[in-house]
């Protein structure tokens, strides 16, 4: 099928950045410090490397099949049945991911600001917020991301810059960590934070120049990854590894401990949370969009709008399953690590098989072979 090619390189990059930066920002310093104490920034960098691997595979595939998304060319590569199976797994995974993002958001809000508001309400409102714009086409989707990008990057950078005055560089040394207990699992957990970048596959077929998709991937993950590393460094250098391990959301504590000069605002957690809602929204929108779009591919339908509403109750119920915050974070960790199979290994498999079978999608404005009229 022919898609309008209207998404610019900047938009594609913006989608990646604002998708990747999301709920994970708050807890990242905690679990990196838990697995590698002072080596947390390095661990973040390693995790970024793993996440980047997945995105590169996806981008290579996308450039090979510039007309289609992974949900479509997988059938061309693996055959109808296996391709559909892969799509099903991806859809299930992204539904779960969406649910966990919404739930983590709700958990933070209930614990820190709106303590009397029922968790269900916060989660449902957030899911509704994602469901409504996900009914739009990919152009509007990209515009939304582009619009919110500055609101996502700026506050994090401001807080990091302001927190520097309380920073102690000793807390960042040795850069390998004193007792790097769980470097490998920690790396996978960090890599899981970059899973949202999977949305790139939906963007490529609508890009003006899909052959430039790798530039967007490079910049998108580069900028968001750099932000993650900087946040890990700032939090660690202010609180030290031991205290960072004790907070559920060290980044939020960092905002709380940071004040605007001149005592204008003595704690920045409130403004930070407000802007963080935007970051969560864009992340949630992306994974919601992938889920809804995946559903439409699964049932071979042109339009994904129907599923925007259809998946809402399922995602909501999934989000409500974890009993408390510890169960929640355990599931986030396990779902995140397991999710590396569909988001990294699956594209790898596809790329290998495509190369072996010599499959290649049509380029330019030509009609592609295969399914979907």
């Amino acid at each position: 099928m022919n898609r309008p090619r209207r998404i610019t390189l900047l938009q594609a990059t913006a989608v990646l950045i604002s998708t990747v930066i999301g709920v994970g920002v708050l807890a990242l310093p905690r679990f990196t410090a838990q697995s590698m104490d002072t080596g947390a920034p390095l661990l973040t960098l390693l995790g970024l490397g793993v996440g980047f691997l997945g995105l590169i595979l996806l981008t290579l595939l996308g450039m090979r099949f510039p007309q289609q998304t992974i949900l479509e060319y997988s059938e061309a590569i693996l055959g109808k049945f296996l391709g559909r199976l892969g799509t099903l797994i991806l859809v299930l995974f992204f539904a779960l991911l969406t649910a966990l993002i919404a739930r983590e958001f709700g958990q933070v809000v209930v614990a820190s600001v709106l303590r009397k508001t029922p968790l269900e309400v916060t989660v449902l409102v957030m899911l509704l917020l994602a469901a409504i714009p996900s009914r739009n086409g990919i152009d509007v989707f990209a515009y939304i991301h582009q619009f919110y990008l500055p609101f996502i990057l700026a506050p994090a950078l401001v807080i990091v810059a302001l927190s520097l005055k309380n920073a102690d560089p000793l807390f960042l040394q040795p850069i390998l960590g004193n007792q790097p207990a769980g470097m490998f699992p920690g790396m996978l957990t960090v890599a899981a934070l970059f899973q949202g970048s999977f949305v790139h596959t939906l963007i490529i077929p609508s890009m003006r120049r899909p052959q430039k998709a790798w530039v967007a991937a490079l910049w998108g993950l580069g900028i968001s990854g750099a932000l993650y590393v900087v946040i890990a460094m700032a939090t660690l250098s202010v609180f030290g590894p031991e205290l960072t391990k004790q907070f559920f959301w060290p980044t939020l504590e960092l905002a709380k401990a940071t004040s605007l000069p001149g005592a204008v605002l003595e704690r920045l957690d409130a403004p930070f949370l407000i802007l963080w809602v935007m970051a969560v929204f864009t992340t949630l929108l992306s994974s919601y969009y992938v889920t809804a779009y995946g559903m439409s591919r699964l049932f071979n339908l042109q339009d994904h709008r129907l599923f925007s509403w259809f998946i809402l109750p399922f995602v909501f119920v999934l989000a409500m399953l974890p009993g408390n915050i510890h169960v929640l974070y355990d599931s986030i960790q396990w779902v995140g690590r397991a999710g590396l199979v569909p988001t990294i290994l699956y594209p790898l498999l596809l790329l290998l098989v495509a190369a072996l079978r010599g499959k290649r999608g049509a380029s330019g404005g030509q009609q592609t072979t295969g399914q979907s009229s």
């Binding site: 600001v113 807390f171 040795p174 004193n178 202010v238 205290l243 003595e266």
Partner: protein, 417 residues
């Protein structure tokens, strides 16, 4: 159905959809309904007082919710009275009388833990108690020596509490220290925070928010410290507060305190750039004394490994200004004299600083964070020999420390000699 009927139903549905969004916020709290706690004072109570505690959060029966079995504490809370707390300088002049127009309500309760006490307090107060604006917790020295555990957890866990509040150790009872209300400021706790902030700004005290204490408390190679205050003045109404040193901690227990001048040594070793302490030195080979006030300092710290043992090295650089000279006839006007004085100060500063380090070593309380430096710079040694807080405390007691001071007299005021 009639087309307008359909329209009506449509509109009705829209209204139904809108309604839930207009009911407002779950967490709405009116200002008047909030009991804003500005400060807390925590004291020990004699054991017999436990019998008088209200059974708000626990039962007497063992199979119910028995009290945690810890010693009781007495909590003094200062609650802001709505409308009386001055919001700016414009309202300041209003009432000097004090008596009838108190800006805060002071109320005391007992409890086993801080939260227990606050819940007990809630039972006696109509408004919902709110901790988001509280600025100062004063804990009496006696209680600090028993350990702060029961206080710290709530302060770390509660999302509303700011990490930039102050935790102070008071020599006498905390409830007394909390109510210090000089005419300079109408809200007592705000006076206390101002006092701390000014001291930090003038370079007379290290920054010591609750958050700083938590960081040091959690770190493996470092111990926390808190400001130590002492009420001054005799009569009940007119006493005020003096910053009297640094309270040394081992984990959550206070183990000692420094002398007031040792705060300066601490700042020097920590390399806090803002300096504001004064010292007096006898003029070598002369008569009388010269007083100096420091205005800038810089410190380098490093660890040297000698025979598999870390040696702690500190190099301090202080710049000062002459404040006062006690003997008008004695001239301090030549490079030689000033050099001699510099030398004299350097030796004395080295002595005083070393004394402070020795003191903390004796208590096993590494408030300087030397251990963090060893952990960061000599990870091999740390991972093999130290690893834990407890081990570092033992090792810290025996480590050699070397302090070097370089002093430079930069300014002499308006007098030439």
């Amino acid at each position: 159905m009639h087309p307008s009927g359909v329209k009506t139903i449509k509109w009705f549905c829209v209204l139904l959809l809108i309604a839930p969004w207009l009911t407002g916020c779950w967490d709405r709290t009116e200002l008047e309904e909030r009991g804003i706690i500005l400060g807390l004072g925590i004291d020990t109570v004699p054991p017999e007082a436990a019998k008088h505690e209200d059974q708000i959060t626990e039962t007497n029966r063992k199979d119910g919710f028995p009290p945690p079995g810890e010693e009781m504490i007495k909590v003094t809370a200062q609650i802001a009275v709505p409308g009386r707390v001055p919001l700016g300088p414009g309202q300041g002049g209003g009432s000097q009388g004090g008596g009838g127009q108190k800006s805060v309500w002071v109320i005391q309760v007992m409890g086993h833990t801080l939260d227990d006490a606050i819940q007990n307090l809630q039972q006696q107060v109509s408004q919902e108690l709110y901790l988001g604006h509280f600025r100062v917790v004063i804990v009496s020295e006696q209680l600090e020596k028993r350990g702060l555990k029961k206080t710290l957890d709530l302060l770390m866990r509660d999302p509303e509490i700011r990490k930039s509040s102050y935790l102070l150790v008071s020599r006498s009872s905390a409830d007394k220290a909390l109510t210090v209300a000089p005419p300079l400021e109408r809200v007592p706790t705000l006076y206390l925070t101002d006092m701390m902030e000014q001291a930090v700004w003038m370079g007379k005290f290290p920054q010591s928010f609750i958050g700083n204490f938590f960081t040091a408390y959690a770190a493996k190679g470092r111990e926390g410290y808190l400001p130590y205050i002492q009420p001054k003045g005799g009569k009940k109404q007119e006493f005020h507060i003096e910053i009297d040193g640094i309270a040394l901690f081992v984990e959550d227990k206070m183990v000692g305190k420094t002398e007031p001048l040792e705060i300066a040594s601490y700042l020097e070793i920590m390399g806090v750039e803002q300096a504001g302490n004064s010292i007096t030195v006898p003029i070598p080979e002369g008569k009388g004394h010269v007083r100096f006030t420091a205005f800038s300092r810089e410190t380098k710290k490093w660890v040297e490994m000698k025979k598999g043992r870390p040696h702690l090295k500190v190099s301090i650089y202080v710049e000062t200004e002459i404040d006062e000279k006690s003997n008008l006839l004695q001239h301090v006007d030549s490079t030689q004299v000033i050099k001699r004085i510099d030398k004299e100060i350097e030796e004395r500063l080295e002595q005083v600083s070393l004394q402070l380090v020795k003191k903390t070593q004796k208590k096993g309380s590494d408030i300087f964070g030397f251990g963090e430096r060893v952990r960061a710079k000599e990870p091999v040694y740390w991972n093999r020999h130290i690893r834990t807080n407890r081990k570092w405390r033992q090792v810290y007691r025996t480590l050699p420390v070397d302090i070097q001071v370089k002093h430079i007299t930069r300014r002499t005021g308006m007098r030439e000699r």
